[in-house]
Symmetry: C2
Subunit: 364 residues, 2 copies
DNA sequence: TTGAAAGCGCTACCAC
DNA sequence: GTGGTAGCGCTTTCAA
């Protein structure tokens, strides 16, 4: 089979119709100032000749240096640091655009994000972002802001979470419901009778709530032999998680399985180890970072659900560039499957773990 | 943090040194005809100004219509059909290059591949491929050919398998050893005592042998309670697989787990069902296609290891274009982690399953 | 409403 | 060894 496409450009269309290429361009892009009749002829001929715009030429001519704002929280660093650096390298690799990135940070989801977003609206128009990458925290508090920004001409891309009721251009995230569902299936298949517990961050966060819904639903379907204890919220703080874990371990009968739906897993794992329950409780965690590695290698952790920050970054930037350059919206909503990382496939992910994910302060 | 890179082009370097941009270009690309001294000055200034080539301009100027040959087997269609169509769409989406694809097919791995490769060497030089995408079957029989083609100036990219001793430019594949290892871990975690069997294609194929090595190694480590029966080779033929499965099911004690390391799983699953053993034997399969879906949904299949043809295609084309356009070899060897598809995350993969994977004849 | 032409940054060719 | 320059296909501006 041969894909030989004859390359028809604007020039060819113009010649075929004996008009100027300026007119063809205007017609093709509906820029106005073209009679309806001519426009129709152009469109028809373009179709006929199989017109494919030369993106290199377009990019060269436009030669825009597009400006992308990136507003992400410092925490949880194990996820957002790799995400940031992946955005950086995806931007560097981009053909066609010079991409200027403007990174801004705030402490954590729901703490400082609104302020940064507000500041975007105040930027002088010559410094406007062409696109803005954000992780929306509480939708109720950012929806309106995101919509305002979008209407001001900045394309909004949500990563890691979503604000579906805002006018964001696109959203990329791991499917949270499915994440919970996978955790439940893994526990269902490996555990005999007993009860399982979940430790999450904050149930007002959509992502966390969705994970729990998926977990509960699948547990009910696949594991009628397992009882689900009420969810514990650790608010992504280390001591809280530690304390709550100790409390869980003192319950009788003791839970046989644990689903940690945020990256705040280390204090939990430490508590489990200190109580000499390592390996006796099946644990499914979230994300991948240095401190977690030994627990996976030892088998203390059955599996971790990796949210693929690199992939999310790549998709986000592809979405932005193809939107700005070609005017096509690839995929308004991308829901990735998390990678299920076990002991056996861990080696393949080791190069995804960066070094400088040192937890400072109480959480990570 | 602000990434404002001042955009220095060839022009800027030339002006800074009061020389012509032709000279700068020659120096930057080591094209010769430049005095060592000038070349050094140019390189230094380029460094200083942070020279970044404008890839759009380069692409526009070169305006090559690169020609990529794609030689893949018809079987196993569930893998190679999606791979082919993903190559197609990745090529269409490519900025900078017009890509002409030349698809060629042969019946199956090891049957007809050598002939197609030989034919490549005979092509008139004006029809030479800039790059060739292949799945090497038996390395012993294609290594030399691949090297000849590579030396003739065609970049060879191996997908789905590898020929590491040839002079191929790059290789993209799922890590076979890890695939087997994952299968073993899943069975180890879900099975009590007993024996497990493997059905593979052909142990002379590197990929199949590697999977088995990984399976055996991990089984020994994680599941001393499980016995591994000797591997069965079905040569990817349906009746053979069916017959062998029936034989396996007649063994006493009956195997409690099964690892099917090729996509030739349907006859096995049918045999299991007919013997009313569905759900009583844990089965891990390979790849994802329509016919397999009901088995995953019903739980007959515990997990399938998906080899991500779309991802492989994308990486292969990225490797090719960045090599031909920028002259940089991204990653000579890419080893993907297979996706572990369970019942819970299956919905996220449904759109990866194309329709026209109808098995014709004896195998797929 | 349409035509003509400049020019984006790079490569390659020709002249010196 | 080096300088000068045409031109890739597109967008955009100015003139008609």
């Amino acid at each position: 089979m041969q894909d030989s496409i004859k390359l028809a450009g604007i020039r060819e269309i113009a010649e075929a119709l004996s008009i100027s290429n300026g007119t063809v361009d205007r017609a093709l892009h509906g820029r106005g100032g073209v009679s309806a009749k001519t426009a129709a002829r152009v469109l028809k001929m373009a179709e006929e000749l199989g017109y494919r715009p030369n993106l290199a030429a377009r990019a060269l001519k436009l030669n825009r240096r597009i400006r992308i704002g990136v507003q992400l929280p410092k925490q949880i660093a194990s996820f957002f640091d790799p995400l940031r650096s992946a955005i950086r390298s995806a931007a560097t690799a981009s053909r066609g655009f010079q991409i200027a990135l403007d990174f801004e940070e705030y402490p954590r989801l729901g703490h400082g994000d609104v302020e940064l977003l507000t500041r975007v609206l105040g930027r002088p128009s010559d410094q406007r972002y062409d696109a803005l990458i954000v992780t929306p925290g509480n939708p109720a508090r950012v929806d309106a802001l995101l919509t305002s920004i979008a209407r001001s001409g900045t394309a909004i891309i949500c990563v890691a979470s979503d604000a579906p009721r805002s006018e964001r251009l696109a959203s990329v995230a791991v499917d949270a419901y499915t994440s919970g569902s996978i955790a439940a299936e893994l526990l269902a298949r490996t555990l005999p009778n007993g009860s399982v517990a979940t430790i999450t961050g904050d149930l007002t966060t959509l992502d966390h709530a969705d994970k729990l819904r998926g977990f509960a639903a699948t547990l009910a379907t696949l594991a009628p032999h397992l009882t689900l204890l009420t969810a514990v919220e650790s608010h992504d703080r280390a001591e809280e998680a530690y304390r709550q874990t100790v409390a869980l371990l003192k319950r009788r009968p003791r839970p046989v399985g644990l689903y940690l739906s945020t990256a705040n897993s280390i204090p939990v794992l430490e508590a489990v180890r200190e109580h000499r329950m390592a390996g006796k409780i099946q644990i499914v965690t979230t994300d991948l970072f240095n401190a977690l590695l030994p627990y996976i290698e030892s088998g203390d952790v059955l599996a971790t659900l990796y949210q693929r920050p690199q992939t999310q970054a790549k998709i986000a930037l592809e979405t932005i560039t193809s939107y700005l350059l070609e005017g096509t919206l690839l995929n308004p909503v991308t829901r990735l499957a998390p990678h299920i990382i076990l002991r056996s496939n861990l080696p393949l992910f080791l190069d995804h773990v960066t070094e400088r994910q040192i937890s400072r302060g109480v959480s990570f």
